[in-house]
Amino acid sequence: MAVPTPDAVLLTPGGPPALPSLLVSDRRIRAQRFWRGARLWIPLGFLILMLFMCFVLPRVVTLPSPTNGTILDGNDALFTPGHWLGTNNVGVDTFSQIVYGGQVSFEIGAAVTAIGMIIGCAIGIPAGYLGGWADSLLSRILDVLLAFPALVLALAIAEGLGPSEVHEIWALSVFSIPTFGRLARASTLAVRDLPFMTAARLSGTRGWRIIVRHVIPNIAPGLVSFSLLGVGLTIILEGALDYLGWGIPLPEASWGQMIASGQNIMSAQPQYVLVPSLFLLVTVVALNMFGDALRERWGEA
């Protein structure tokens, strides 16, 4: 994991806190505003570009096959005409592999995060809202899931169910569920006793209605900005699973599997392993920066 980041870190402000200062020049304010915008739009723009590259480009332009190539085109260097990121030893185009592998990464990242958010909220919100024994029971369940080495569970599930994209999604959800659950519980606790909640209760609103109308809208911004970090984390883990050979079945392309096969020829042709590694790194950096920028605007989870 990938080192899964503890919530505490994800929730510490990313940007430097604004220092209290009364005399700020006009220029400085403008510069601050500019960087604030840049911190949001640069990663967002990059992500949009990546999504476009992975999902729209292959439908518009005919790319070389990501699974087949001819050995005649094998071992093309970077920037070869027709294969601008080169080809691997059997002539499969690297850029196509990146595109199709990226599709898989984004799909799995989004699905795992969505599942984690929905089931995690279904556990965490009642736990935080109801308190008492329900909270104790649900929190212990989350604790067990968190204490369980996520990768082990994911690997065991992937091994047992066999490699496929859907199985990988379920395997990885095992760790996204408790993370979101704990966050949902903590944020529900934070809003539970605020005055507007008391007002809602006093005016006769009950149970589900309070949760749907009052709790969820208030904790949603925090959960959404956290979910971007979740997508990044999932993409990292997905890469690890593919790397270890328990992810997307061959011959389908995935970034982790590209890293694994590139590792064998690392000393002769480092680009095979570097290209997917860098795509993986930069994508996750963009997701994290975007999440940070959203938190800066929407406040803490």
Partner: protein, 322 residues
């Protein structure tokens, strides 16, 4: 009987830890038994007759109902015996060989990352928004986003393939301190870099907050202490508590990362052992390793909780009221 609140806290946390540990063993068992059970088939090979498979299943006790097997395992585990692997070795023995390797690697990674994080965070917190702060924030953003796998690959390409300072694969960490550093530095650095990012971010945020908010900082400044001294002797001391907590909380997740790094560098630790065990459907070994991982996680969390409560008087006060 008037018991001290600290003792009561210890008792409560210990109870919760035991429950969580038990839950983990149960969950492992549930996962392992819902998966297709072809242990016997795997051991005997493709040409085994159904009768042979059934006989081996019986010999291994795999034909027993779930609760019977779980109960037997639990009783044995409580006696300190984690069972036997498919190859017929005791799981305890397997762990005794591989666990120290992983622990050494983790310890090395922790030492590197904490030491660097403290230095960088102090430099960054000295002038928030200054140049050191901005650099440290950017580097830690990369570290937070980098998986150990990617860090490992890049380190290998740079330091093993191009420069040649370290071996590409480290087979074993034994053989003296010098060999340990040669073999262990790249794996430890791959594990440590993401940790360094986490710790730096956290410590910096905490230091900045203390420097801006806490009264004792004002007092120390009013006494005329130099800014560095205030930062290091006063703020850092308090911020270390936060760091200790996170290190403890993080231990469990670290073991998963160690597994990947061990495969990448072919370090013979429990992580790579675990992956082999999963490939072989070696339930006893998987259960044993997961149990130890969970034990480390829970012990780390517990230690963090308790240390925090014992070291920081504000927390102790809080827990008396709750």
């Amino acid at each position: 009987m008037a018991r001290s609140p600290a003792l009561r806290l210890v008792g409560r946390r210990l109870g919760a830890a035991v429950i969580v540990l038990w839950g983990v063993t149960l969950l492992t068992f549930i996962v392992m038994s819902t998966l297709p059970n072809d242990t016997a088939q795997t051991m005997l090979g493709l040409h085994a007759t159904p009768a042979q498979v059934a006989a081996l299943n019986k010999a291994l006790g795999l034909n027993q109902p779930f609760w019977v097997r779980y109960w037997r395992w639990l009783v044995q585990a409580l006696h300190g015996n984690l069972g036997t692997t498919l190859e017929g070795q005791s799981v305890n023995h397997e762990l005794a060989i591989h666990l120290p390797v992983t622990l050494e690697l983790l310890a090395y990674a922790l030492v590197i990352s904490v030491a660097l994080a403290v230095v960088v965070a102090v430099l960054a917190a000295r002038r928030p928004n200054g140049i050191a702060d901005r650099i440290s924030l950017s580097v830690s953003m990369i570290g937070l986003s980098a998986s150990p796998l990617v860090v490992g690959i890049i380190l290998v390409i740079v330091f093993a393939v191009q420069v040649g300072w370290f071996p590409v694969q480290s087979n074993g960490l034994g053989g003296g301190l010098g060999s340990f550093f040669v073999q262990g530095t790249l794996p430890a650095a791959s594990l440590g870099f993401p940790l360094f990012a986490i710790y730096t971010r956290l410590l910096r945020a905490d230091l900045v907050e203390q420097m801006q908010r806490e009264d004792y900082i004002v007092t120390a400044r009013a006494k005329g202490l130099s800014p560095w001294r205030v930062l290091i002797r006063h703020a850092l001391r308090n911020s270390m508590f936060t760091l200790i907590t996170v290190i403890g909380l993080n231990l469990g997740t670290l073991v998963s990362a160690a597994a990947i790094i061990e495969v990448l560098f072919s370090v013979p630790g429990v992580g790579s052992d675990l992956l082999t065990a999963i490939g072989n459907h070696d339930s006893a070994l998987i259960e044993g390793i997961v149990f130890v991982f969970a034990l480390i996680t829970v012990a780390g969390n517990l230690a963090a909780d308790l240390l925090y409560a014992v070291l920081d008087p504000r927390i102790r006060h809080g827990s008396t009221n709750s």
